[in-house]
Symmetry: C2
Subunit: 127 residues, 2 copies
């Protein structure tokens, strides 16, 4: 089951990589349509789902609402959903991994993956 590099897959990866907007499935489709108006909805779903399975893309649930956003999984970080501007902001916290390890040792469990999503007001909207 070898993978192939298709034009569609490249478009989708470019969208996730270039725009730091953490798009939803629908937004990815809309953006992809601008690059190639023949691209199918199903192609976007199939590609994104495979990328998530393979660990190259993270699926971010919303804290309050429904739906998911997607992000390239380049370096581990956290997301803040801003209640004011609606954007999803990347948060890099140095001690995150340390904190997770502490939970693991305190509770005698093994933690393989973790997901931290925040909701509040971003730096920009606070001003």
């Amino acid at each position: 089951m070898n993978q192939r590099n298709t034009k569609q897959k490249e478009i989708i990866l470019k969208i996730l990589d270039e725009n730091r907007i953490h798009p939803t499935m629908q937004e990815i489709y809309d953006l992809a349509k601008k690059e190639d108006q023949n691209i199918g909805q199903a192609t976007v779903y199939r590609n994104i789902n495979k990328l998530v399975e393979d660990g190259m893309v993270i699926k971010i649930p919303s804290v309050g609402e429904e739906g998911y956003h997607y992000d390239i999984n380049n370096h581990p970080h956290t997301h803040l959903v801003c209640n004011s501007c609606g954007k999803i902001i990347d948060i890099f916290e140095n001690d995150y991994e340390k904190f997770i390890k502490k939970i693991a040792s305190n509770n005698s469990v093994i933690i393989k993956k973790s997901l931290l999503v925040l909701e509040g007001i971003c730096n920009n909207c606070k001003k």
Copy 2:
């Protein structure tokens, strides 16, 4: 828009409170059916959704897979999805709130809600 205490709502709350199993919507429905075989699927959805809106119940997304689990929101805690037994285990970490506050101050943001979900191996399966 006053709330009313119905038999169905009490059954649903009892299920969430008594069983510490973090059930899915479907599981809540199945359990509720055992108490009252006339209860409707829509009633379960409507009640759970309202409880989540009101903040009495938390909706827990899965880290890897699809779907949600529900839990009474009595005191703040984290959840570990065990890859071995499949259960969702409550994790109480004293410094959780402190850690979230630290993120907020480090990044100059206001954090109103947060969600931490873990995936790995629980204490029991590790043995």
